[in-house]
Symmetry: C2
Subunit: 393 residues, 2 copies
């Protein structure tokens, strides 16, 4: 009844469990959501008024497939990547669409694409929907295990490596400069593309920014950016940053896929940028999210330091915690819901569901009070289970 290409396509486990975790009495660390209380609603309203005055009825007409040119200029200016001008950018419906369009343009069915285990679930969905053959390598706090990657590369060529170098989803890791450079050297030597997904890059709470993979090797790397985490997800705006030959091909596919992304939302974000609202808003997000990260890390250390381990990230929205005992976090998840606290069980982020004893904890969408209460609920549950098993043993 349906086409072969969608046979492997599953609905996102995360989206499925979000329904459960949205009950009002549950403290949810499960979603990957920004805090709606921090959306710059007032500034967007003012930007909307200015935009309507400036553009009149033209605001509502069809637009360019690549996206509003002035918006692309603003994005290029914000990226301050010497290799990126507006002609290297294409505006997409969230970075998710950028990923889908680029994979459709680059990867034939059956071609090998390497991801980290664990990795972003939405990337797995895109790669499966486009019939890539998925391979995964382990990663640590400094990024992917490149010895493992090189072993794979010596066996057979690959088409792409999917990377989340800044505040990885789900692990929170930031690839070290050394790891970045070696990954790019491998891409050059073994001739593959790097898909650099950067939705969290601007959400750094401490430490120094590292150069993006794209800025280090613009001919090898296709970068994906997003306004979802730094302005508002409902506006569904992201971008592809790439060398011209790729942009030209993706633009043709984008034209077939939806003609262009919302012109209204593009103009709204453009006005917000022109009004100089982004930098002060980012500073506010960094301050508040940074405090929440600290609060969650301290609470986990204090209440669960004996039962789980984690590397505290320098930015992003997630802490990735691993139980010291080999216990299924999927089972733990069911009990946790009953106790009024939610997280995402780690196996959702693996190609084949390996490593069952990790969990992703989101700290951006809960107040410090909620974070502390949620960790206490979680600790009660994990420590009781620990005790029960010890007694039973």
């Amino acid at each position: 009844m349906f086409a072969e290409r969608i046979k492997n396509l599953n609905s996102s486990f995360i989206r499925d469990i979000l329904a459960v975790t949205q009950q009002p009495d549950i403290i949810s660390f499960a979603g990957g959501l920004p805090d709606p209380a921090l959306f710059p609603a007032g500034q967007l309203q003012e930007a909307g008024e200015r935009m309507r005055q400036r553009l009149g009825n033209a605001l509502y007409q069809y637009g360019e497939t690549a996206g509003v040119a002035t918006l692309r200029e603003q994005i290029a200016a914000n990226l301050s990547d010497a290799n990126t001008g507006p002609e290297n950018l294409l505006v997409t419906t969230g970075s998710q669409q950028g990923l889908d369009l680029v994979v459709r343009c680059l990867v034939d069915p059956g071609e090998r694409v390497v991801v980290e285990g664990p990795t972003y679930l939405g990337a797995l969905q895109v790669l499966r929907a486009n019939q890539a053959q998925l391979l995964s390598i382990a990663s640590d706090a400094d990024g992917p295990d490149l010895d493992a990657l090189e072993t794979l590369l010596k066996e057979q060529p690959i088409r792409c490596f999917y990377a989340v170098p800044d505040f990885h989803n789900p692990t929170g890791a930031c690839y070290s400069l050394r790891r970045r450079q070696r990954l790019l050297a491998l891409a050059e030597m073994y001739d593959f593309w790097i898909l650099e997904d950067s939705p969290y890059s601007a959400l750094r709470y401490r430490g120094e920014s590292l150069p993006s993979l794209h800025s280090l090797a613009p001919q090898r790397v296709i970068q994906f950016g997003s306004f979802s985490k730094i302005i508002a997800p409902a506006l569904r705006l992201g971008w592809i940053n790439s060398a011209r030959p790729v942009i030209k091909v993706v633009e043709k596919l984008k034209q077939a896929a939806d003609l262009h992304s919302s012109g209204y939302d593009q103009q709204l974000v453009l006005q917000f940028l022109l009004d100089g609202c982004l930098q002060p808003h980012l500073e506010r997000l960094r301050e508040i999210y940074g405090e929440r990260l600290d609060a969650m890390a301290s609470a986990l250390e204090r209440e669960l330091g004996g039962a789980l381990s984690f590397h505290k990230p320098q930015g992003g929205m997630f802490i990735w915690a691993t139980l010291k005992r080999q216990e299924s976090t999927l089972e733990l998840f069911r009990s946790a819901i009953a106790e009024g606290v939610a997280f995402v069980p780690g196996e959702a982020f693996y190609v084949n569901g390996e490593q069952e004893n990790s969990m992703r904890l989101n700290f951006s969408n809960s107040s410090i009070g909620m974070i502390e209460a949620g960790v206490t609920r979680l600790a009660g549950l994990i420590n009781v289970r620990l005790h029960q098993t010890c007694t039973a043993g």
Copy 2:
């Protein structure tokens, strides 16, 4: 360097020529654009204020992949198709995205899809991007030549038939009831899907509405609708109307493709509908576009009746005119630009560029004065060429 699936993908000839035809001294009948002067900007501004008050910051958060539930309820109510509830609808980024998602879910590479010759160029782009094998059949003022379709069907099975039954782009034709019924009977007998593209259905200026293909055979037909032509294209909102099994699969692909369409734009259109603005706006569009259609048909008859023939449509945005002589409208197009008038040469709308002596004339985006002046320019050109050839002969 790129994937096989995009090898056949061309940029839209129409989008390429739009750049040329947008010079201010050119009267353009080329685009497929609504008139921006008629966009309901004031009502959308008021709807925006009400929406922001109603939703607060929640307006800007991630939303459901299928689209805002209340918007789907409103669309279902407006369709008044007994087979369509909100659960049969999925909101897309324009109907163009609906078409792409559904073809990705239904058509494997190399599977046969039948279109009319001529047909909507954006559908050809989607089908090529998804590696369908394209076949075309002729059509007339009552719709596709179903004898030709049946001949094809007897040779080999097909996967889909792509139909634009109401005010076809580019021909303006409205399939007769008899043709609709026979097409559906063929779909049942030979087991294929019908993709019913209905962006113009609400733009009927005279005559009685006919039942949609979907309403006659909801298990066989996947229908595509759009707010682009009746509210505003920049908001990029359309929908898929289909039986649940298809919606469920498309929803999974949509999640991978872009998570969901703009929540902001969906709420804006929803508020416009809740405010009761759509029906009065449609009445205004029908009145003004209907007068423009009359003006263009009269001018063509008066000034070019000897040189070209056309069927006056009952709605939509286009007149499809065919030169009585076998002369290339692509060549004519180049001279027309020099004379300050533009249209789309007919060959753009064919799978293989057949029939070179037709042209698509848009009447929705020019005032009556511009329509008359443009037809006069065109008549001068065509009549001079006719005279030159007669003299030369």
